[in-house]
Symmetry: none
Subunit: 211 residues, 4 copies
DNA sequence: CATGAATGAGGTTTCATTCAT
DNA sequence: TATGAATGAAACCTCATTCAT
């Protein structure tokens, strides 16, 4: 995970990192409950069990904390999926893609609040911070696209727009978090995942008759 | 569209409705530029070319304006799609669905800012208002689901989870607005629409060999 | 007196001016008591008998109030002296200069606190504001210099460095305010003024023997 | 120069004095750049290359440092001028006074920032500290006055208000620092000094015809 | 004796909302 | 009815000072 370009007064890098991660962890909880603008510094400090001064020792502003929270979540997700992807057998693209989808969907199931929060609050970041955030998304997008291309090149998949398919997979994983109020009414997680995995693999299937 | 209940007694309901719609229109513009929390009443009043007192004559609070903005956008969308759907020939589900998708995607292309805004700011509404908002979504969901079921019943489609497919269609329409920073890099609107329409219709196709 | 380039929300110019002058008047009193940094907004508001919001309706920041206070004092002084100077008979430079010195010294006697305050707090203004402030000083400097040159041209004075003499006169007028802790120990105002007037006029005297 | 009383018991008085002078020296630099209130302890510590704890070991508060800075500058000036005055030949008051003026004006030319700073920030000291500061001024005042009286008694000068003349000399020396924004526009240091020296000596001259 | 992380009161400023005109 | 000046609570953030290490 990256370190954040924040205003810190301390030089003990290990301490800084530890405290920053602590603040990120606790603030995330506070933020997802009430949203960024509705959470005031007093609540953040309380959640962190730190004084205002201490929090401002490690972050320059409330906005910097927001950036750290969102960016950290993005990086962690990207690292996690990249790392998992590297364990997959590229010779079996179908199976690999299914595994990857499970991990991806599970992530957003386990981190529903953060996913939703990211969609809602990224707007409150300045443009350049926002673009930093998008990078993690692009990394994940590339990983998925990679498997699609792999499968296409090995002849197992037929996929014309791998970028679009990769995007749709991500979007549907996110949907489980950001549209839960609708989806939860009708589906449980396993059904949601299984159905989409099946539909996707089916649509990627090379039609025999075409050969 | 509804007239929003106001605190002050007013004789001229038509005037009230007109003024409210004016405020909704202008506030929407102001809100999508900077977000709900970042837009203050002064800016709203300026955008509306009205005094604070006047605005508060037609809405009880800033939050009520937010609710009106989001809810109004939702209702308009639902009305528009329901009305369009009613013109479609149910005997040709494939063609009808394609037409509906185009209208749906076009709506979110034309109203990108509002779609994104809705995702971001619905959180700032109280629970019951939020649920009101979801209603419009459900109406649209039903319309789409209706065509899928129609197609299934007529034997043209094979669709196991019409609710899920309907949801995915909506989600992908929204994606064009809420993920534009990614999608716009690679696709134009027509490609995005065409590809998804094709993939969907294909996946709904009754496989002949199965018969 | 100039109007200040401040952030105001109101458009009723007369009201704005009236309220600004009220705030300037009351803030001056508050500032000279404890100094700029030691006077907080709560005290300023109390002195103005206004709420914080109201004060910020007419000034954009505490610093803008400081600027207005200092700049207003400077302008008033310059206007007052210019106006008085214009009543003086240029044909009697000696008498005119003496009158002008009295008015100048009296001003700083009557406004000791403000004179001292100006020396102390001008530093807290941004560079360009500071330069605006210096303008009033220059106007007064010019007025005094004018009489010296007049006297020289009419042959009544012998003055080699009118700019320097004009400056010294101002400085000694200010001294009565900014060094009162020392001067008051030994002199009263009239003595201070009379002695300096006499010394100056003497030193400007054309020595007969030289002719 | 004095050692400032500190709260902690310290065995090594020499070390204490050395550290205090170090802090005074570095803080002076920091203070004159941004002013007392605008310079925070972090900046002071950085300028001193010491930790906050260390600085607080040698001074009880930020205000005490301010006092030390101003008071130290005053003492140094007084000591310097007293010491220089003691080398002057009292039998030649005219020459002596001219020499003393040069040293005085040069001091304030060399320490412009500190002179200005003293005028600006003495206000931030408590009353009794302020009076301590004035003492140095009085010492210098006495030295100058002494030469004037000497000259009067020896019959070389005619001076009716030696206290006032002494004060004016000091004020004009300070003016070079505190009014530099105006004076520097028109004069260089040597002209400023020479003109004032000449004018003064002239005005002190015993008029022969009077005898 | 030195460090510098931590404290938390208090600073300036904003803003939704009201109400006298 | 319409206005917009006024309110004042509460927001974010800073900073002199302390004290455990």
């Amino acid at each position: 995970m990256t370190t954040f370009p924040i205003r810190t007064f301390s030089k003990d890098e290990a301490l800084v990192k530890e405290r920053q991660e602590h603040i990120i962890r606790r603030s995330t909880k506070a933020f997802v409950k009430k949203g960024f603008s509705q959470t005031n510094m007093r609540e953040i400090c309380k959640a962190c069990e730190m004084s205002a001064g201490a929090v401002y020792h490690y972050f320059g502003s409330k906005e910097e904390i927001l950036y750290a929270v969102i960016s950290s979540a993005g990086s962690k997700q990207a690292e996690y999926l990249e790392s998992f992807a590297s364990t997959l057998d590229k010779k079996e693209p179908g199976r690999a893609l299914a595994s990857l989808m499970r991990k991806l969907f599970e992530w957003h199931n386990d981190n529903q609040d953060v996913t939703l929060f990211t969609y809602q609050e990224t707007r409150n970041l300045p443009r350049d911070a926002r673009e930093q955030i998008f990078e993690s998304e692009c990394r994940i997008h590339s990983v998925i696209e990679g498997f699609l291309i792999e499968g296409a090149e090995s002849g197992e998949f037929r996929v014309e727009e791998p970028k679009l398919v990769a995007h749709d997979i991500m979007m549907l994983a996110h949907a489980w978090a950001i549209r839960r109020w609708l989806l939860r009414k009708y589906f449980d997680f396993e059904t949601y995942l299984a159905t989409h995995t099946a539909v996707l693999l089916k649509s990627l299937q090379r039609v025999e008759a075409e050969g």
